[in-house]
């Protein structure tokens, strides 16, 4: 065996192992659609019968009866903001779920006065396990009667919003921990504070939720979180689907590779790609067979 043959084989083996690792190792980053662990979206997407969309190359055609869910942990470009505005203006429902991300950029662009507070909402009394998991037990009539209790996870609150638009409030014992010392201090806003709101914008609808974490696998099954999301999005009552924009989430290289690999799988499953692969296999097989036969002849 010659050295270049050995190198090619080594590279091939490494490449195959890498692909297998990428495919087989579970995704562990938060909000990732392939992540089946506590902080992923895999089970949640199934439970909500939701799909993911990648808007990094422009917003795909989305039916106006669908609900587009944005988790803006990365900044939206001006072009993307224009597309979001167009989507809402065409009668679509945009659900912005943010805590400490770039949700306010979207609201500013859409001309909505409301803002995500951007500081932790803590509730030392009405909470799940500790004050970072505030319990929400006060809902407007816009929320289904079956929703009694929603648990947030390291959430924030909504500020500067008309009370008629609010659909969920934190309890009176909650507060916004502006100085981050995990206890209430003089001057810090106390509950009840809005955590979810719904408003009309032109012909479209905007839904604001001050915590995207209720979507993750471990949170959606807590209390009535699933019912709450279904109630907000009208899932099950209208024919629209929930489309989660995953292109504005922070992603590590492995997650990017996973996404690309999935894309490649999709491309390879296309008829043209399949046709190409079959043709390539034919050509390679023919060359091999002919080479074998040719070597006999040539040596003669």
């Amino acid at each position: 065996m010659k050295i270049h043959h050995a190198l090619i084989i080594t590279i091939l083996i490494t490449f195959i192992i890498s692909l297998m690792c990428v495919s087989l190792f579970p995704s562990v980053q938060a909000f990732m659609q392939y992540n089946t662990l506590w902080n992923g979206l895999r089970h949640s997407l199934n439970a909500l019968n939701a799909n993911t969309v990648d808007t990094s190359n422009g917003l795909p055609q989305i039916d106006s009866n669908n609900v587009l869910v944005c988790i803006p942990y990365l900044q939206y470009s001006d072009n993307e903001l224009v597309q979001l505005t167009d989507f809402v203006n065409s009668g679509g429902t945009l659900m912005v779920m943010d805590d400490f991300g770039y949700g306010n950029d979207i609201l500013t662009y859409l001309g909505i006065d409301c803002r995500f507070a951007g500081t932790p909402l803590l509730d030392p009394l009405y909470c799940y396990k500790n004050q970072s998991f505030p319990e929400i037990i006060d809902f407007s009539l816009a929320v289904s009667r079956n929703v009694k209790e929603v648990v947030l996870n390291n959430a924030t609150a909504l500020l500067n919003i008309d009370n008629s638009m609010v659909i969920a409030w934190s309890t009176a014992s909650s507060y916004l921990d502006r100085n981050g010392n995990s206890s209430w201090d003089e001057g810090e806003l106390q509950g009840p504070l809005p955590v979810a709101a719904k408003m009309r914008l032109g012909t479209g609808t905007i839904i604001l939720v001050s915590d995207p974490s209720i979507l993750i696998n471990s949170m959606l099954v807590k209390d009535d979180n699933l019912l709450f999301i279904k109630s907000l999005t009208g899932s099950g009552t209208n024919s629209g689907k929930i489309m989660v924009d995953t292109s504005h989430l922070t992603r590590d290289p492995m997650e990017i590779t996973k996404t690309k690999l999935s894309g490649i799988k999709g491309i390879l499953s296309q008829p043209c790609a399949l046709l190409g692969i079959v043709s390539l296999l034919f050509i390679l097989a023919s060359i091999y067979i002919l080479k074998m036969g040719g070597s006999i002849g040539r040596e003669s």
């Binding site: 490494t14 902080n39 319990e135 037990i137 492995m254 043209c272 002919l290 036969g293």
Partner: protein
């Protein structure tokens, strides 16, 4: 460069290192705004619990029952230590009870005050038993609250911390609230005791007596009824006193007694459509009578009330559609009462009035259901206001609002389509309430959407034009979605499978297959054979006379004859000896013998599969032998040495 056996070890090491790098490349957890709820630490806050207690007690002091009820409703969601849970629940229920009792005591104190002002001492006295009982229960509840606060204080070890700490401040606030509540209860006790003393002093007043009678036992609503009666105290008639006439306990009119203590008058029977009205007269001392006479209330006299009644029966269609008209059919049955020509009705949908009309005894009222009426059961209520002697009538009928489900009939749908090309999809939309007109029909095929609008008879026609695609052939789904314009029709979708043939792609693919599978191999084979023929004749055409003696006859015969003999006398013999060894090994491995008239090259080729990679070495040796057989080449010592080495290699390789 040729690599040794340990090269595979090197590959394993390289791959292992690469795998380690791959593993090391697993994502690093970034700081996130989530926490695993299943592994999160449980933390209880004593400060917030005491602040909650204090807030609840403030609500009790403010007599705000609603706030306390809200606290009780949300209490199951509070995160409190298990050791405090029971006392927490006791605290809330006690606070709720205490607030309710305080409100009750408030009511008793104010009622008693009013009764005393009206000299109704007997009634006032009767309230005291209830008041003191409630006070005792309130004090028990306050004790429960103290105990709950104490348990929480022990749990959070309030006594061991600095008085300036937030938990100590919160606990002190609770204790302060408890003390204020204790003071409040003491205040109620003092007030009640004072009022009781006042009543005892007034109980020796002369008792008053009042009577009432009416001139008829029954009357229609709106009729006039006369009454009369007397007022006396200790057997003496009291003149010029104000008497209140009560109907069912409520003040209806006032009259004065004449100078002889008699009173009389008349009143119009109110339009109360009830069977009986109780009539009483009331005297309570005023001005100079206060403190001299007791309050007097007459026994009640019953007056039977007469009025006309009607029964309204309603009917409507079983199902209704949002945005469409429905008929409400009604019939008034008056029985023995006179029939009214027209009556005003008000129609409500789910208790929300939306139509008023004037109708006859039998009527059909058309109403348009709002377009946003939700699907499901609704209640249509028809209310008829009272008119004179006619009592009001209310009747309801259930209404089920549904959406019509159109049926999609495709009259023309191809079984198979050729791409590129176009085809028609025709169909008709009908529902239980007729053809679905002006509905938007969207047809999706091969990722393309085509829209059409249904006509008045519900028919539609769409042409789908398909351009080139990448497929070959197969079954594709054709989806038809109908979105009706009318709110009472629902969206309907249907899916059909259509066989799709990509004519151009199939042709191209077929040509590729033909080229790769038939033409290319044939052409290449032809070329290879041609190349072989160019080289082979030179080797075959070599004439025998110039060859060595051992090679004069056919090579095969010669070799076959020489097998088993060892002749090292000539260089050719020595070389052939080693070649024979190789041939024997090949025969052993392949099981094939060298046939007559078979060239060495053909034999080596036929046994190539059995010899595998060793075939190359055998071929190399065969070339040397062929050179000797088919040319004037004289065997040299190098040839023999080379042949010997090659034979050894063959033996090492396949002789094992």
């Amino acid at each position: 460069m040729i690599l040794g056996r340990d090269f595979f070890k090197k590959i394993v090491i390289i791959v292992s290192i690469t795998a380690c790098f791959t593993l090391a490349g697993l994502p690093v957890f970034a700081a996130s705004s989530q926490e695993n709820p299943d592994t999160a630490a449980v933390v209880f806050s004593g400060v917030s619990l005491f602040q909650f207690y204090s807030g609840t007690l403030d609500s009790v002091l403010a007599k705000n029952q609603q706030d306390i009820e809200t606290d009780i409703q949300v209490s199951p969601f509070a995160n409190v230590p298990p050791a405090v849970e029971d006392s927490f629940n006791n605290f809330l229920s006690s606070a709720g009870n205490l607030c309710s009792l305080i409100l009750g005591l408030d009511g008793i104190v104010s009622d008693t005050k009013l009764l005393l002002q009206e000299s109704r001492y007997t009634e006032a006295a009767s309230l005291y038993t209830e008041a003191f009982t409630n006070l005792a229960i309130a004090e028990e509840n306050l004790d429960s609250i103290k105990q709950a606060a104490s348990i929480a204080g022990s749990q959070f070890k309030v006594t061991g911390v600095s008085t300036d700490s937030s938990i100590s401040v919160a606990y002190t606030a609770v204790q302060g609230d408890i003390q204020r509540l204790s003071d409040l209860l003491n205040l109620y006790r003092t007030i009640l005791q004072q009022q009781q003393t006042e009543i005892s002093n007034k109980s020796l007043l002369p008792s008053s007596d009042i009577t009432i009678g009416i001139d008829q036992s029954e009357a229609y609503v709106g009729d006039t009824v006369s009454f009369r009666g007397t007022l006396s105290a200790n057997g003496q008639l009291l003149g010029n006193r104000r008497i209140e006439i009560l109907l069912d306990g409520s003040l209806y009119l006032t009259v004065n007694t004449d100078s002889h203590g008699h009173y009389f008058g008349s009143f119009q029977v109110p339009y109360w459509y009830v069977s009986l009205i109780n009539i009483q007269s009331l005297y309570f001392p005023q001005a100079g009578d206060v403190g001299n006479y007791d309050l007097a209330l007459s026994p009640s006299v019953s007056l039977k009330i007469l009025f006309y009644t009607a029964v309204l029966t309603l009917r409507t269609a079983t199902n209704a559609y949002s945005g469409r008209d429905i008929d409400i059919i009604g019939q008034f049955e008056y029985g023995a009462s006179p029939v009214v020509d027209e009556r005003n009705i008000e129609i409500s949908l789910d208790n929300v009035p939306f139509v008023e009309s004037e109708v006859s005894a039998a009527f059909t009222q058309k109403i348009a259901l709002p377009a946003d009426t939700t699907i499901g059961n609704h209640l249509i209520t028809v209310s008829v206001l009272a008119e004179g002697r006619y009592s009001p009538v209310v009747a309801s009928v259930n209404l089920t609002v549904v959406k019509a489900i159109p049926v999609l009939l495709t009259t023309k749908l191809p079984f198979a389509v050729m791409i590129p090309g176009s085809f028609h999809v025709r169909g008709k939309l009908t529902s239980s309430i007729g053809p679905v007109s002006q509905a938007r029909v969207t047809i999706t095929f091969e990722g393309k959407q085509v829209s059409a609008v249904s006509g008045d008879d519900g028919t539609f026609n769409a042409v789908i034009r398909n351009s080139m695609g990448f497929g070959l052939f197969g079954s594709q789904s054709l989806q038809i979605t109908s979105t009706p314009m009318e709110p009472w029709q629902t969206t309907v979708a249907a899916s059909h499978n259509v066989i799709t043939v990509y004519v151009v792609n199939c042709s191209v693919f077929f040509l590729i297959l033909v080229f790769l599978g038939i033409i290319l191999p044939r052409r290449l084979k032809f070329r290879i054979v041609a190349m072989s023929k160019k080289k082979l004749p030179q080797a075959i055409v070599v004439t025998a006379p110039d060859l060595p003696t051992s090679a004069v006859s056919s090579v095969a015969e010669n070799l076959a004859a020489d097998i088993g003999r060892r002749d090292e006398s000539t260089p050719v013999g020595r070389l052939f000896y080693w070649y024979r060894v190789v041939i024997l090994l090949v025969q052993k491995v392949s099981g094939l013998l060298l046939k007559p008239n078979q060239t060495l090259r053909e034999y080596i080729s036929d046994t190539g599969q059995a010899t595998g990679s060793t075939g190359k070495i055998i071929l190399e040796f065969t070339r040397i032998v062929e050179k000797v057989l088919y040319s004037h080449h004289q065997v040299t010592e190098d040839d023999i040495k080379n042949g010997q080495q090659l034979a050894r290699k063959v033996r090492e390789s396949i002789g094992k």
